[in-house]
């Protein structure tokens, strides 16, 4: 077999074994393999490689593992957390009010939650407790909490579609 032909076919053999070639290229490869013992040997080596990969047996992890993980989960304060609730249309007007009040006295309440959900296990633990409610509860002893919590309470009173529960 001409080495130039092999040089063209060899780099395609792995794609051939995984079904990654189009129909016409598959035809070319097969034609060559029928005549070339070297390339055929290489194909067999690739197939033996796949045969060496033995399947994983699926096992459940030890039950107590989550508790150990949860202990190490610090509250998340970065990313988009606190803001997502404000992006709901029903909350928009109240949000503007809350942010204006907050900025007027340099209390960065809009960007930093007074308390995150995870700081409030009793509140956050209840199914369906949402961010606004948590903030209202958390804000009772904060400076200027009255205005802010009023705005948030207004937002919480707006009908908001219940969160979909996946699965």
């Amino acid at each position: 077999m001409k080495p130039t032909e092999c040089a063209k076919i060899l780099p395609m053999l792995a794609d051939y074994t995984v079904g990654g070639l189009d129909v016409s290229t598959v035809g070319q490869v097969r034609e060559h393999l029928a005549e070339c013992a070297d390339c055929h040997r290489e194909l067999e080596a690739l197939e033996r490689t796949a045969a060496l990969l033995t399947p994983i047996s699926q096992v459940e992890p030890p039950r107590q593992l989550w508790a150990g993980i949860e202990r190490q989960l610090e509250p998340r304060r970065t990313g988009r957390p606190a803001w997502s609730v404000y992006l709901r249309p029903a909350v928009a007007v109240a949000t503007v009010a809350a942010v204006l009040i907050a900025f007027s006295v340099f209390v960065p309440i809009g960007t930093t939650p007074i308390l995150s959900n995870s700081d409030l296990p009793l509140l956050a633990g209840a199914e369906g407790t949402d961010y606004a409610e948590t903030q209202i509860a958390a804000a009772w002893d904060q400076p200027l909490a009255d205005e802010v919590s009023l705005a948030l309470a207004m937002a919480a009173l707006e009908p908001v579609a219940p969160e979909e529960v996946p699965q």
Binding site: A14, D15, T17, V18, G19, G20, R41, E44, A45, L46, R48, T49, A50, L52, L53, T54, P55, I56, S57, Q58, V59, E60, P61, P62, L65, W66, G68, I69, E70, Q72, L73, E74, P75, R76, R77, T78, G79, R80, P81, A82, S84, S116, N117, S118, E164, P166, Q167
Partner: protein, 188 residues
């Protein structure tokens, strides 16, 4: 809501700090991560440690995950990085575990195979695991999902949110790399 959309939502909620959402992701992926670590390490306790550390690291790094749909591939990658670190620490020369004779895969533990052959197969399997552990990340994840977990390529494409052609080409490059690393076992 389909599975992908549900997962995207869970990842977003976890990013927002909801541990309950993260726990749902844990319940979905802990068996995958633990089984993978156990397969690669042959050590239940070390596999449990890796599983724990994988989810703690994932929680801390959630903001760096660009596509929430790819959480499954991403969490496997975090686990495999640790498996690699562990393998380096435990087998610095790439040599075999002293007790590898105990680690014959069940399907090979056959009466008709003598102890010498069993040891040979077990050593070969150790080299296979080392070769997988040394693959590049992109190839490694698709090789693991397809060959070790038995997932069809179309499912991998959907789960990782990448085109089918990309899955196939990563699989092909991964197979070439493994074939080179395992040359003594696959050549005539």
């Amino acid at each position: 809501m389909d599975r992908e959309a549900a997962q995207r939502r869970l990842v977003e909620k976890a990013r927002a700090g909801e541990k309950r959402a993260f726990n749902a992701l844990y319940r979905q992926y802990a068996p995958v991560v633990y089984s993978l670590a156990r397969h690669m390490m042959r050590d239940d306790e070390a596999a449990a440690d890796v599983t724990q550390e994988t989810f703690v690291r994932a929680w801390r790094a959630l903001d760096s995950l660009n596509d929430p749909q790819a959480f499954g591939g991403w969490i496997r990658m975090i686990a495999l990085n640790q498996v690699r670190d562990w393998a380096r620490a435990h087998r610095p020369t790439g040599s075999l575990d002293a007790d590898s004779a105990d680690q014959v895969p069940r399907q090979w533990a056959d009466e008709s195979i003598g102890p010498a052959e069993q040891l040979e197969i077990s050593e070969q399997q150790q080299q296979v695991r080392d070769a997988i552990a040394r693959l590049g990340e992109d190839q490694q994840v698709v090789v693991v999902m397809h060959h070790l977990e038995g997932k069809p390529v179309a499912d991998i494409s959907r789960e990782l949110g990448i085109p089918l052609g990309t899955v196939l080409s990563r699989l092909a490059r991964g197979r070439e790399a493994l074939r080179r690393k395992l040359a003594p076992h696959v050549e005539d």
